[in-house]
Subunit: 291 residues, 6 copies
């Protein structure tokens, strides 16, 4: 749709609605979990470009985006190329020394670099971080033990605060380390929630390949637009929310109970979903707030 | 049109187009001449409310609006109530001591207060100024002499700079004074241009009751969307631009040749004309830039 | 008296006495109510010039003067010119829509502009304000209802703080507004007291046409040079203080009980009364302090 | 040697000699190229620990170390594990898409992470960067074309300046990108020299596995302790400096002619070589200065 | 004279005259040479108290006084007590090692300490300095050689600037040192002039025991109230100014030609002479300005 | 010993040990009592030079040294030259008016000036102070009365804080004054302890002519390297510590119980004893810490 085709009236309506949010969110920290599935769901290159555009749009209006990403599928791919067979326990990959090294290389040296590169090809504001940089993510070995898979023990926001103050947008690969320097691979949804809480973020946003949380998991039309953390906890308890959505839902609950104003689960495959969510009254997807 | 009826796609289009201007204009000074005719052309109360909304919208996204206004019709009205007959010379009212006192009371104590009051009833950021405050507008008696009607000799931006730095939006009544403290009534279009130049404004915007400058003054459909100061000067020279439009056109030419990036003549009766002008590629009305 | 006629010894005495006050008051806020009667009592033009000199003298030694003024007689004069008859109730003018508009025009557009103009003709430091600017004075309708006559509900000192920090001297016309933007005319003595309290002023000074508060209201020689707020309250209670002095006396009591160090009632017709009051041990007129 | 065995006299001698350098270098930027060979030459783990200690020692006395590293052998190793055969042209590996991805993963996700991890296990001051972060290293394709092997076109020091100002120590993996976001692998010695010049570094130090530059390349005893850039250029021209030493020598020459005060080639296998070089009069290894 | 005896009118006259100078001199540096003769001329204790009061009065109104003093008579007294006979050459005392030590002890440890102590007994703002502190006064041996008597080579104002910025008032004993640390005794009038010039002082004031410079050196009534440096140079040349007045006159000429606004020679025996000089139009004594 | 003779290994050992202290002490205040005996014990000139070097070395690495000194022997010498016989009571000199004047002249005008001069001949950072400057040391007459001998009542650190913030190193002569400006001579060991406590110093260091505190006062080999304040108090109680060591020992106890981290008694005759004490693990002499 060309610019000439939008009436002045319509523009005025959109702008009058958007402007209060622009000033409300200026200076706010917004943590965005960029999901592998969001990429994988459509044309990867186009999705990445649209995401990079949105990050820069937020940056340009004074919002402070912090990106968190994982990369499970890409790790699996390299392990396969190396002929390394993985053992799975309760659906989680057992991570030995060699698998950890592969995970680090893929997350830090490939997925993170790709995201940073896509943003910086337009404007050089992104800075890639692993959780080992400036001891950003302090981790411990997860129980039951499945190797170098970690839990978040703490988040040192010093490097994030400093980069944000300098006008840079951090992009975080979810490797952490313990006090002895031992690295661990950590679930990216969990890291996103912990980072949002530690930063006192205004919003935590999950870009996924579904339209939001459904009242009836089998009915795409049953997406709930707003709910409390209590209501979401009930949906987990009764099994309505399940599988891959559980870590995201849990991170939403933890974040809003930890002081994040709202948590959101959006369909990242829609163009500029981030902008529409932030700058319209109704938003898109599912919003979770503390009761 | 309710918010629910605008598609996410359309919103995204408007926002993606608007956001670069938001960041481009953040921190910029925009001088807006709010015309008596803009008020008088429609429902006065509604127009004033919509204008107040737009001023606050600009303020909220970090733009620094400075409002300039006149009030000829309202001065005439009070003179009439006082039974004071005016002498006119070349179409300009001869301003004696008593008329000057009436002009000051109406401009500073009524029109300015009404504008400030309308904005501050929503958010208390407006501060009314006359050109006598902090010797903002230095004036001299206009030649040929028609009493206390003045020309702008200089603009001391110190009080404007200070109020803008404090987050306040100045609203200026166009009374000036000379070095002896003698006050003068000054044409508001001229003051708007001089203030824009002195402030190094990004834009000078005239809110009027016409859609813009016409190639053919008798044809409303001949509005020119963009032109150079040279072209505008030609239109004045050949009489295409005439009557009340001349001071505005001259102020546009002076402002852009004095460093203001662009000058605009808009129809202030359209709702939120200011926002649409600032935040869309095509803008509305006529834009004048230096050749 | 020419400078040559004052002996070095005498100069030394005055200076040695004055200097401690100069440094004591540097940076202090002094609220001065400039009364219509102070003007009317002598040669208006001369009194205004002398007052302007004193304001600039205080400003030049780092004291922060804030001027408050009313203008009842001037309002009455314009109403009369407009052939508008006023109804009085309990001695107060009933203020309808039209009378309010006249009051605003006279206070903001005439008396305030005259004061600001007189100061700025010498040095451009004065900035005129009405209580509507930056919602400086929040008002409500006075009970019993006599139209748009208001009481002070609150004072937002933000614009005063900002102007003082910038080296400007605010001059306040006593129009206030409520949360809906409705304007009211308010007693200037009351506003002066409320502003002094809100600013944490060092002193509140009323420039009047009497020498001070008298122990015996009929005996000009019975002026009391210093008294407590309690003592002043007794004089009101027993009728010794009456008529037009009551709002001033009440403002003095409110101010000193609200934290203002001292309140003063001086004869503004004496040349440079402000300077002598501030910079000599005994001062002039009546000083009120909290018991 | 235990502390008790060093005489007070000897300590005083070392300290009196070291202290002027401590204050001279405080606040200075020191670029250190940490070589794969320096690691490989001894016990890798021990060498890494000793290097991490020295980086933290410099950091603690207010010197600003910036680390640059390569990782050729480790890239080769992963390519081999993936069964990828490399084509070599003029001794340089032709780098196709896949090899570039491997290089990025190894440099950014393994070697860089290992260095950062080793430092941060002691004190969390290191932050890993690739040249793509904040467009730190702008690159172009090297001629003759051997795939994604780049030359340095420019160094944007903004992110380095910001991290150093925040008390962080950057560790740089030598991947760069062009204006289209295309990544390239770049020689680490060259990057170290370009970064030192761009930062206005006090010193550029190469930690290698040789004792310095030899007058006679076959005689280990012929190490030259100090020389000019002109003299070093002659040694390259006459073939005395050859093979892997050439990029280092060229970087030394470029750096000192670009304003770096001195460039150094040290044996990184000696414990705490960095400290001894910086804080003694004679230093160790070869020092190059501009003629 | 008690405060009650000075009329309000008279006070107003003195204050109106003084206030412009108060604001004009606020923040200015005033160098005062406090002479041994000024002390010796009257009751030493009373004179010192009055001087201390004036220094604190200047300090309290934001003026920055810097005191310079000598102490020839007191040095002579101690030399005599020690039975040390002085050789005089051209009327100047030959200063050997021992005499220098005596001079330092007397100037720094007695006269300076007495002045500092007198001021600080009232308010603790004075800080004593010798010219050796922070190498304030760089000196060289005077030619022809009469021992450790020095000339001023330079003034390092760093310590003065720092103390003044901290609200302290420096009191300077006129010992200087050369680059080898060798101390010298220097004429205090000369030091006062050099310090005033180096500080860019507003005024240099000599407090002496005469009323000013006389047109006819034998006629006390011939004191000249204002003159140019050129005129003063003529008076030296023709012998009208002679003896002990010559170094003061020369320092006045050097200071005003070096940028000090005015230099003054006053009778320090008059109470509060400093205040009357600074804060009245006519001043007292003789004022010298650059032609 | 020439630099070439110290092995790189040995240097590395000393530096690796010293560097943590360098950063630990950077910005810390170290109070050093420089004793007359430390001077007298060796070649006075050489000792003074070595001490000046150490002060400047500390200054150059960001440590903030504050020097305190006495000068009893030098006072006695001048009294003797003046033929003044002293009365002693309990081993303390009775100080009459004349003796006080001599003490002030010697301490402030000779010993202090010599120390300041020796430092500033190398780099002009020292500023001499007496306790009368800016009322640094508030004193009262000591009981039982032996004339103008004082006790420390309080320490006003304002001038010390200001000089340290400006990069200057204060050197303090131990004259104090009471509220009436009366000066007193005070024991320098006591002043050093009071100044260290008031400054919140990291260390208080006494440079003396003994190697430290001995377990057996008659056995030079029995020096104790570290002890608690309690243990030191016991040694005083049982007479093991006696004579001139008592004021030092008492000052150590007071200082560490008042918050100073550690107090030290060193042999100031050893070259660079200050540096070795500060920058080695074992230090030298006796260290006292709070239990």
């Amino acid at each position: 749709m060309t610019e000439g085709q939008i009436s002045a009236e319509l523009r005025a309506d959109v702008l009058v609605e958007a402007i209060p949010y622009l000033s409300q969110f200026a200076g706010s920290r917004i943590v965005v979990k960029y999901g592998g599935n969001a990429i994988a769901g459509g044309d990867e290159e186009t999705a990445l470009q649209s995401f990079a555009d949105d990050v820069l749009a937020l940056h340009s209006v004074g919002i402070l985006p912090v990106i968190v990403h994982g990369g499970g599928p890409q790790i699996g791919e390299l392990l396969q190329r190396l002929g390394k067979e993985s053992e799975f326990r309760d659906g989680l990959r057992v991570t030995d020394d060699d698998s950890l090294e592969v995970a680090r290389m893929v997350l830090v040296g490939k997925v993170n670099s790709d995201l940073v590169g896509a943003i910086n090809a337009k404007r050089g504001v992104a800075v890639g971080l692993s959780g080992q940089d400036a001891t950003l993510i302090v981790a411990s070995r997860r129980e039951p033990d499945i190797g170098y898979v970690g839990d978040v023990v703490g988040v040192n926001t010093k490097i994030l605060d400093h980069l944000l103050a300098g006008g840079f947008s951090p992009v975080i690969a979810t490797i952490g380390a313990d006090a002895f320097g031992q690295a661990y691979n950590i679930n990216a949804d969990t890291v996103a929630g912990a980072v949002a809480t530690a930063l006192g973020a205004e919003k935590l946003i999950f870009l996924t390949d579904v339209a939001g949380i459904r009242a009836d998991s089998s009915d795409p039309a049953s997406v709930i637009s707003a709910m409390s953390d209590k209501e979401l906890a009930s949906l987990i308890a009764d099994g309505s929310v399940n599988a891959g959505m559980i870590p995201k839902a849990a991170a939403c609950i933890d974040a809003v109970s930890g002081g994040v104003r709202s948590a959101h689960i959006l369909d990242g495959r829609t163009a500029h979903a981030l902008l529409v969510e932030l700058f319209s009254e109704g938003g898109v997807g599912t919003m979770v707030v503390a009761q």
